[in-house]
Each structure stands twice: as C-alpha cells, then as structure tokens.
Symmetry: C2
C-alpha cells in the first residue's frame, strides 16, 4: 500500500481524535462493576467456546471458578481434561449430564441428571469465592423442562452473590431467562461446515 499523504494523515488523525474523545467520555461514565448473568444462545457456533474463553480469562487472573456441564457427559471434551489436569485447584469441573437428550431416551433419567446438576450449580454459585460459574448447556435442560425455569431465575435473583458472574449457554434460551440476564449474545449461523459434509473436529468443536 502507498504511504498516506500529509493531508490524508492529518484528516485521519483529526477523525480518530474525535472518536477517541467521544469514546473516552463514554467509558468514563461506565464505572460500575457487578457480577453478571450472561446468556450465550442462538443456533450458531461459539456459545460454549466463548464461555470457556471467559473461564480461561478467569484462570489467567487467578480467580476461582467452576463449570457444570448439563448435557455433555457422553462426549469427550478436551477443555475438561486440560482444566481438570492443569487448573483443578482453581476451577471445579462437574460433568453431570448424560449426553444429549436424544442419546438417553429416558425422561426420568434426564430429569434426575438435570436436577443433580442444578443442585451442584446452586452449591457452587452460593460459594462467593467463585468469581464465575459456567452452566454449560443448561438452556437445553430448561427448554425440555427437565429443570423448572422459575426456580432457576428466582435463585439467580435471590441468591447469586453480587460479584459472581454466572454464564448460561445453549440454544433456545427461554425468554424469562433473557429478561433476567445482564448480557445476552445470540450466535447466528452465517455458514456452517457440517452443511458441507465436514464432521466435528478436535480443536474446533471439542
């Protein structure tokens, strides 16, 4: 690329200075800190990987954190092995699910597994030493009513310690959960390689 001319460089600097001033003003107003209820939903890829990216950030800061996997028990997960082996002192990892619901075909068992996972989740959230608790794929348990939605939303409102972040992932987040959350991202599919016959690959999907 060619070098910018003096005029181009000056116009660029003036424009960016204006953006910076506006942004600095905006950021000055943002002084609050609080533990967030974060919902990652939608059909696109990146919900659990984004949640694990935040767990990685917590580990980087030396914050105690915890993971409860609601429906992934049956699948191998690289991140579970790594976190358990290398960061087990900082991050409790509980895989309570029995695989996706179409694998088990047993409603009573699915409900019991989801209930046990939720009991563990409550225990971990109540422990205010945990700065982040990830409830991975809980939205699936809520969608199929293996867990009571009012109980989950009510617990987060009443008992989550003020500085604890709780991250809830899975597609089809219930509207009442979205209403109760502080941060909600919906992952939208623009392109998915499964459609082109590519299977789930280590390092990308698990």
């Amino acid at each position: 690329m060619t070098e910018p001319s003096a005029e181009e460089a000056a116009a660029h600097a003036a424009k960016k200075a204006k953006i910076k001033a506006a942004r600095d003003r905006m950021m000055e107003e943002k002084t609050g800190e609080k533990g967030l209820v974060i919902v990652l939903t939608g059909p696109g890829k990146g919900k659990s990987s984004s949640a694990f990216g935040m767990i990685l950030r917590c580990l980087a800061h030396g914050y105690p954190c915890a993971v409860v996997q609601f429906v992934k028990g049956a699948r191998y997960s690289g991140e579970r092995d790594l976190i358990t082996a290398r960061f087990g002192d900082l991050c409790a990892f509980h895989t309570m699910g029995e695989g996706f619901t179409w694998e088990t075909q047993d409603l009573a068992r699915d409900r019991a597994a989801a209930g046990a996972a939720w009991d563990k989740a409550k225990e971990l959230i109540r422990d205010s030493r945990n700065r982040m608790v990830l409830l991975d794929e809980i939205n699936i348990a809520l969608r199929y009513e293996y867990l009571d939605l009012q109980e989950v939303v009510g617990f987060l409102a009443a008992e989550k310690p003020p500085m604890t972040h709780v991250v809830l992932t899975g597609r089809n987040a219930r509207p009442e959960l979205i209403a109760a959350a502080d941060l909600v991202t919906e992952m939208t599919v623009v392109k998915h390689p499964f459609r082109a016959g590519i299977k789930a690959q280590p390092g990308v999907e698990f």
Copy 2:
C-alpha cells in the same frame, strides 16, 4: 417435578429414539476433515473469547497453535499472560497491534503495524505444524484498509495448509472474506451491560 407416567416415559423414549436415528444418519454422512477458515464477526460479545476457547481446545489436544493480535497491543489481556507463561511451548503469541485505531491517530503507523502483523501471520500459517492460527481483530485492519483484502483472501486460498484452521475475528467482516470462509458466526447483541453503565471487567472482557 413429578415423575413421568409410564405413557409419558414411553412417548418420550420413542420420540428421542427417532431423533437419535435421524441424527446418527446425518452424522454418518459427515466424514470430512479439513482445516477451516473460521470467521467470528458481528457487534455482540464473544468473538475473541470464542476464538480463545478454540485455542484452549487445541492446547488441550497438544496441538501447536499461534495467535496474532492485530489491534489489541495497548490493552492488558489476561489470556495473553496465561498462554505465554503456561503454554508458550505450544502456542506462539504475537501482539502486533498498537491498540484500537482511535488510540493511535496515526494512519502510517497503523498501516505499518497491520502490515507487520500480517507478515507474522503468513509465516505462522505457512508453518504446517500449527493446527490453528488465530488472527484476532484482523477484521478491523481489513475494514479500515490497513491491509489489502485481496492479498489476505488470496493468501488463504493459495497458501493455507489443508489441515490448518485459521480463525479471523472482529466486527464488520468484509463480504469477500465471508464468501471465502467455511464457518461464519455472527454475534448479535441482545443485551449489553455497558448500556447499563457497567465497565469492562476482568474475567469477562479481558
């Protein structure tokens, strides 16, 4: 919750068995493996954290990987410290950007920094030992034309080793890049806590 009745349990099992059979058939057809061009874009939170979640998965599998940060040099990043300190043998980490463009106000410097980051990115992608190369926030450099879009798209098509995943993050991904990608997720904002006066917090944003 009450126990399911025998009829309810049987209906549930039959329905899930049907879903499982359909899913098993579908997954059998997905046998391909290839290195993907993955684009994570959109205004919502979770682009870089999702990318770092995939880096975490690569580290879990013991795959060599690499990160080039295009515009985040000026900001502290917990994940950079952790990866450098604990996984430096597996994951090269290059922070080449000079902060967001509105911080520098210097067009020639922004272009030079983006060009140096891209040169490093090409070197890392050409090294086929790397299973994943993350080009964090490269979309910003492409959007402001600090990098030549045709050069980037052409390089990925011509020189990316077949089994290497390249992940490109940042909002406003250019349409030509989306056209060239295998997997594209757009992160949509449903709710953002900055709007409620909450600042960027460690463990969540960095």
